[in-house]
Amino acid sequence: QDDEKVVIGVSIPSATHGFMGGLNWHAQDTINRLGEQYPNIEFVLSTAGDAAKQVNDIEDMMATRNIDGLVVLPFESEPLTAPVAAVKDAGKFVTVVDRGLSQEGIEDLYVAGDNTAFGRVAGEYFRDNLEAGSKVVVLRGIPTTLDNERVEAFQAALEGSEVEILDMQHGNWNRDDAFTVMQDYLSKYPEIDAVWAADDDMAIGVLEAISAAGRDEEMWVIGGAGMKEIVQRIMDGDPQLPVNVTYPPALISSAIEMTALNFVSNAPMTGRFIIGSQLITPENAENFFYPDSPF
């Protein structure tokens, strides 16, 4: 082992909603663990509220922290592409997480969830478990490309089935917004058979709105990303929450860990790792339950 310090920068969006909160937690947890395990690796973590701030953070890491590797979860793909490419051009090891850059081949390592699969798996469940003529409402996230991908895949999966999507509004991956939107859906539509909330934070708000309206029996809800409370309820066999679709925030851990390994072991860590979205069912829910994570 040589004594040379290795600095790895980790740049992720800040914890503005549940999923990102979980991701932040996993990132810090991993950094703390690896910091102890490999004393010669130093980590620099920064969180950004928008794309411009994230570019600032990466610039600062390059200019003042002298990083050797960068793990980045781009806030948005397009604006981060050129700055990350600049890091790569400076000879650093680059790991991109979750949201791909808009240009291929920049990163050494790519670790991501699968947004299309996320929407498709949910869509398929709806198609397979609803009768013809069933009515569905959708809560979308913050308007972004990845939300578009998910929703398009969901719609594509439903295509040809007799399931009708009544409405799609933005709940912004926020409990309160989802609560409001769902309350208004319930006022507007006398008949709803199922809800795709696309995110477990929104699912929580949706469930409250449904139970306040006393229509629990009428519809079930599918969220996403595997929040522990939701997984718990699936384990308990809650009929309102039959399944969930994974999009694990823990993927950041894998990315950081593999990046660290690239520096401490001799095996080069490059390539693409796509962590597909799986269906959490009451049978397999235990495997997706992380009681310590805040998410």
């Binding site: 609560f179 507007k188 708000g205 994570s293 805040p294």
Partner: protein
């Protein structure tokens, strides 16, 4: 009292126009369930906006209320979860939580108020600072995630948001009481008079033996208290708090106050107007959700247009004043 106040009439007309629009767009709009929903949802911002009316009327501003609400919700939940093993799953624990929210609100208001009156820093800067601080603290307390109330407590606490007297749920009742008390205080109490006097010209107030700093401090305290009260009603709704709770509530509260005819520069407070402003803002959201519009991406634009239009209605008066 004798002649209609155009500053109130304008927003009122806008409100009525919105109600008519809503009823035309969707018959479910006037159903009791929808009305209950809209009113109960308005309660948080409404209660806060009543407090904000006093702060703004006295020539101040508070940008921190949204973050403060998130922070208070966070510590309330932590306190209740902590008290649970000791006290058990009963109203005692919930009362402790309520106490923490209210007391925390008063202390938070005190901090803002003291920095503004004693350290003499612009309210904008002080509350921009505390906005960041409260928001960070709740995110940190929640470890970036969500603080959730224990399931049993939540079930016990739930009726505080969802229960009530028939259709009229507790948040609506509390909001109504606060609005009436607020209007009364602004119109008929010494404190209200002093608040208007300070906002109108604080030098004259000082020369009239009014303790300007004390009154200003009290407006921030009152606002803090009301944010605490709003939190007491908010927590039972979803039983959780996170870094994204209460985002932009400050903007909504301030907008409601100004739509209601209170002057941003102070000196003229209209609590009724604020209530109308809050209802207008809630109704816009509700109507946009109920109606099928071109594209949900444009919701914000329609919202913007309606806000501006609502205020155009109270403009005539001002124009005539000028020369």
């Amino acid at each position: 009292m004798k002649k209609p106040d155009l500053h109130l009439l304008g927003p009122l007309v806008a409100l009525i126009a919105l109600v008519v629009l809503g009823a035309l767009l969707n018959s479910a709009f006037l159903a009791p369930a929808n009305i209950t929903n809209v009113l109960a949802r308005s309660a948080f911002i409404g209660i806060i906006a009543v407090g904000m009316t006093f702060v703004i009327t006295a020539g101040g501003l508070d940008l921190s209320v949204g973050s403060m609400a998130a922070f208070l919700a966070g510590i309330t939940i932590i306190a209740m979860n902590a008290a649970l093993p000791e006290i058990g799953e009963n109203w005692g624990t919930i009362l402790i939580g309520m106490g923490v929210a209210i007391l925390g609100g008063i202390i938070a208001g005190l901090v803002n108020g003291l920095l503004i009156t004693q350290a003499r820093i612009e309210p904008f800067i002080v509350t921009l600072g505390t906005m960041g601080i409260f928001r960070s603290l709740v995110t940190w307390l929640a470890d970036g995630g969500t603080l959730s109330l224990e399931y049993g407590l939540r079930t016990l606490y739930r009726p505080v948001y969802y229960g009530g007297i028939g259709w009229i749920t507790w948040p609506i009742i509390v909001f109504a009481i606060i609005a009436v008390l607020g209007e009364w205080t602004m119109r008929h109490s010494r404190f209200g008079r002093h608040v208007e006097a300070i906002g109108s010209n604080d030098r004259v107030a000082r020369y009239s033996a009014i303790d300007v700093n004390r009154v200003k401090l009290l407006t921030y305290l009152l606002l803090g208290l009301l944010v605490g009260l709003a939190t007491v009603l908010y927590v039972p709704r979803l039983g959780s708090a996170s870094g994204s709770t209460g985002v932009l509530w400050e903007l909504e509260a301030i907008a409601a106050v100004i739509i209601g005819g209170t002057a941003l520069k102070g000196g003229r407070g209209r609590v009724w107007g604020t209530v109308i402003g809050v209802l207008i803002l809630s109704l816009i959201d509700n109507i946009l959700n109920l109606a099928d519009l071109v594209s949900p991406y444009l919701n914000g634009a329609i919202q913007g247009v309606i806000i501006v239009l609502a205020v155009v209605l109270q403009r005539e008066k001002r124009a005539a004043d000028e020369r």
